[in-house]
């Protein structure tokens, strides 16, 4: 035994004699993790969060979250002598006078963007592979909470520096809250500490941004990861992999080394971006004053789709009995996102209601094998993308010399037309991919080599695929549509027939598939 080994042994002994942890730790260390590139997306989220904690804490050491007015006398000449909030002035100081301050600000902002991008990518991975199915519905819902929190945390974050751009964002935020019927006006006055821009909002969202929300994040992420640990990771179907096992590498040493190394790579790439690519150069925008605005006002991209929805809303307001209801704000900013996020949170339950499938699932789906779900996902992405494009309509208009009117009308129409179209196209695409899989299993892959048959015709040589590959392409289940009788066993009409009918229709649509190759079919072909 080397001295290092002895020392580790002594520490382990010390801890175990006081906690009895050895048994549990041994079990945990034996857990294995299946390998697939898409399983790293969740890791990127976690690592970016850690980077946010580190860089954010650095910023708090100098940032002054106050709306107190000061006269700027720092080193950045163009703004010297201007009145501004202490928040903005201190952000200028971090950028120009603290060594590494600008780097940290840029790391913080870049990692916020990477964080949100990774969350979205991770969410899509989980959705399209069906990883949210029983028993993982809790984790799906926790994930939806994390995206929502991320949106709010990011909005609060880029509002803190109190520059002209972020102040405009806050103006819009206050108008959204103010539009809530009955209580909106009161809530805005309370949150902002008076009429907009008030005196209290920046210090208040600062506390939420650096303490409360990160605290909730930490708790939710911990539960999220512990559940993954406890329920064991899902895996893609393949030889030797079943619903009853997990095949992969144990945590020590390979997985640990790769995961740890990957953290530094994510951090390194973030630092590199922050070194060479400027982000949020607040000194160019100037301090916030409500009477002014910078042209091309854009939020960060993860809020951009909401802004795009707001931009395309029709000018509807209801004026009645001395009251005003702003549908042009409520629908795009609160009602549509509300429906979208609630729908997402409930989706695992909706799907299992449609399929009638209440079993546990640990093998992942290939998206093409569940056309309905895949199509629904692409439909939602299309919806959000159109909104996002419309959120940048002014920029697009100048870049491509279009009129804003054209883009706006394009968005207003296509937000209704393109998502359903995307659904239909995706579903067809999935089915033709299934057909291609079927061909591949039956006839092998095309080699591009032509041979001349004795009869004189040319045929292409097909090469059979490996046994493993064949199994991968055929091991999925193909769902059967639900059969629900309107009449129960005693001959009485059931309650809720309409609901049953809908369910049967949906489950039929869900079960559409190209029949996969069976063992018999393969045998027959081989005998030819």
């Amino acid at each position: 035994m080397t001295t290092a080994e002895k020392r580790v042994g002594a520490i382990a002994n010390f801890v175990d004699e006081r906690t009895g942890a050895a048994g549990w730790v041994k079990k945990s260390l034996n857990k294995v993790f299946p390998d697939h590139w898409s399983f790293m997306l969740g890791e990127v989220c976690m690592y970016s969060f850690i980077i946010l904690l580190l860089s954010g804490t650095f910023l708090t050491l100098w940032f002054d979250p106050s709306q107190r007015e000061v006269i700027y006398d720092g080193v950045y000449e163009p703004l010297q002598g201007l009145k501004m909030s202490a928040a903005y002035a201190s952000t200028l100081d971090i950028s120009f006078e603290i060594r590494g301050g600008l780097l940290m600000r840029q790391i913080h902002h870049w990692s916020a963007n990477i964080f949100m991008a990774a969350i979205v990518a991770h969410l899509l991975r989980v959705f399209f592979t069906g990883a949210f199915r029983k028993p993982r519905e809790f984790n799906w819902i926790l994930g939806i909470i994390l995206v929502t929190l991320g949106l709010v945390e990011g909005l609060f974050g880029y509002s803190l520096p109190d520059d002209l751009l972020s102040g405009t964002g806050l103006r819009i935020t206050s108008a959204i809250i103010q539009a809530i019927p009955l209580v909106g006006t009161y809530i805005t006055f309370f949150l902002f500490g008076g009429a907009f821009p008030g005196v209290g909002f920046i210090p208040r969202i600062f506390t939420l941004h650096v303490l409360l929300i990160p605290g909730i994040f930490l708790a939710v992420i911990t539960i999220h990861v512990m559940l993954v640990w406890y329920q064991k990771h899902t895996q893609f179907a393949g030889p030797g992999k079943t619903e009853k096992n997990v095949v992969g590498h144990p945590i020590l040493p390979v997985y640990m080394a790769k995961a740890g190394g990957f953290f530094f790579i994510v951090f390194g790439v973030t630092a590199f971006l922050s070194a060479v690519a400027s982000i949020n150069p607040i000194w160019l925008y100037g301090p916030y004053t409500p009477g002014q605005i910078s042209a091309g006002s854009q939020p960060d991209w993860y809020m951009g789709w909401l802004d795009g929805l707001v931009r395309m809303a029709p000018p509807w307001e209801t004026h009645a009995f001395g009251h005003t209801v702003s549908w042009n704000i409520l629908i795009p900013a609160l009602i549509v996102p509300g429906i979208l996020f609630t729908g997402m949170a409930l989706y695992p339950f909706i799907e299992s209601w449609i399929t009638g499938d209440k079993r546990e699932h640990h093998l992942l789906d290939r998206p093409r094998n569940v056309p309905n779900r895949t199509a629904l996902g692409v439909m939602s992405i299309t919806f959000v993308m159109i909104s996002l494009i419309n959120g940048g309509n002014d920029i697009l208009a100048t870049a491509f010399d279009l009129s804003i009117n054209q883009i706006m009308w394009f968005s207003r129409i296509s937000i209704f037309v393109l998502p359903p179209l995307a659904f239909v196209i995706t579903k067809r695409l999935c089915l033709s991919l299934q057909r291609a899989d079927r061909e591949l299993v039956l006839h092998g892959k095309e080699t591009g080599r032509l041979v001349r048959m004795p009869s004189g015709e040319f045929v292409e040589v097909h090469e059979p695929i490996s046994e493993q590959k064949r199994f991968i392409l055929t091991s999925h289940e193909q769902p059967t549509p639900l059969v629900l009788e309107d009449i129960d066993s005693r001959g009485v009409r059931r309650a809720g027939t309409l609901k049953n009918k809908l369910r049967v229709r949906l489950s039929k649509a869900h079960a559409v598939a190209i029949p996969k190759v069976t063992a018999q079919e393969l045998k027959e072909i081989e005998h030819h």
């Binding site: 030797g240 590199f272 029949p515 069976t518």
Partner: protein, 340 residues
């Protein structure tokens, strides 16, 4: 296209493909090489850290260097950033390369069990809960049940109440601005009163209400940001024949000079863009477009109401003044707004 059932016989699992050994597992030379590569990666990380330290200590804050493609760059920021990026990135690469080429890798199979507890456990659990609930005897203790419900209901109020002092009540703040009858229009910035005759046709000026000189000790009172959030007004001079207004609205103009609130009736951004040729005002936030000749009627975008118009005239000295306060609230809508 048809639906299929699972009654068919699937293709059998052929079992995992055989384990393939890596170069470093079989060839000592590859092993040596991999070891050296890992060491080099660690060394590069060290170089990054040194670069960071060097940049922090030795590069002055005002040095710029020219980098092709990127242009002039702040040398210290770049040195710190590249140093940090290298030190982190290569550390990660080293660990991963080490794991991939040299660490013992064996695929392992873990078994799963269903999460559902055994039937006995579930029954026991239900029994325990039932007994527990029965022990509380809520069914029999009506009085306790009701008083408990009432007190819990009341208990929810204090936390909400305690937030009451976050801010003042709205009162009339959203309905009023600092424009009074007789208030002079002054330029923003500059605070200079404006002679109607000085405004040329086609010009646009941003104005604010003049603040009364009589601050307490005679000093100039400050404008609050919350005033600047609702007071700004845009002054535009057209040829009188360009207008297409109702008689009441026309009476609110002065010789072709028309004044609108600059605060967007949609969500309160500053409506900052004026197009000379079309005589349209455009809000950069969501592109609501207002036609100046028709009293800032909304001709495009999500805004639902025209920009409120300020009634203006001139005083004895010829300076522009407000004849009356705004007759409606400026800025975005809210529940209590009477928009009729």
């Amino acid at each position: 296209m048809r639906t299929v059932s699972n009654e068919i016989e699937s293709i059998k699992d052929p079992g995992p493909a055989p384990h393939v050994l890596r170069a470093a597992d079989v060839n000592p030379r590859s092993e040596k090489r991999a070891e050296q590569q890992v060491a080099i990666l660690f060394a590069l990380s060290g170089v990054g850290s040194l670069l960071l330290i060097y940049s922090y200590v030795f590069i002055a804050n005002d040095v710029f260097i020219f980098i092709p493609v990127m242009g002039n760059q702040h040398a210290q920021q770049l040195g710190l950033g590249i140093g940090m990026a290298m030190s982190l990135f290569f550390l990660g690469m080293a660990a991963i390369h080490w794991a991939k080429t040299l660490m013992s890798e064996t695929e392992v199979v873990n078994h799963r069990h269903e999460f559902r507890s055994s039937d006995e456990d579930r029954e026991d659990f239900i029994k325990t809960v039932k007994e527990g609930v029965a022990g509380v005897q809520l069914g029999r203790r009506k009085l306790i049940k009701r008083s408990m419900a009432a007190s819990i209901g009341l208990f929810a109020l204090p936390p909400v109440l305690l937030l009451r002092d976050l801010g003042p009540l709205p009162k009339k703040q959203l309905e009023t601005t600092n424009w009074k009858s007789g208030t002079r229009l002054v330029t923003d910035p500059g605070d200079r009163p404006i002679l109607a005759s000085d405004l040329e046709v086609g010009s646009v000026v941003q104005v604010l209400p003049a603040i009364a000189e009589s601050g307490e000790k005679g000093e100039h009172p400050e404008r609050l940001l919350s005033d600047i959030a609702k007071d700004p007004v845009l002054l535009i001079r057209l040829r009188p024949e360009d207008f297409n207004l109702t008689p009441e609205k026309l009476a609110m103009t002065h010789e072709g000079i028309i004044a609108f609130s600059k605060i967007c009736s949609h969500m309160g951004c500053a409506v900052a863009l004026y197009e000379q040729t079309t005589k349209h005002l455009l809000c950069p936030c969501h592109q609501s477009t207002f036609d100046v000749t028709r009293g800032a009627k909304v001709i495009f975008g999500p805004a639902a109401r025209p920009l409120p118009q300020l009634d203006i005239t001139i005083d004895a000295e010829g300076y522009l003044i407000a004849r009356a306060p705004f007759s409606e609230s400026v800025g975005p809508s809210y529940w209590e707004r009477n928009s009729q």
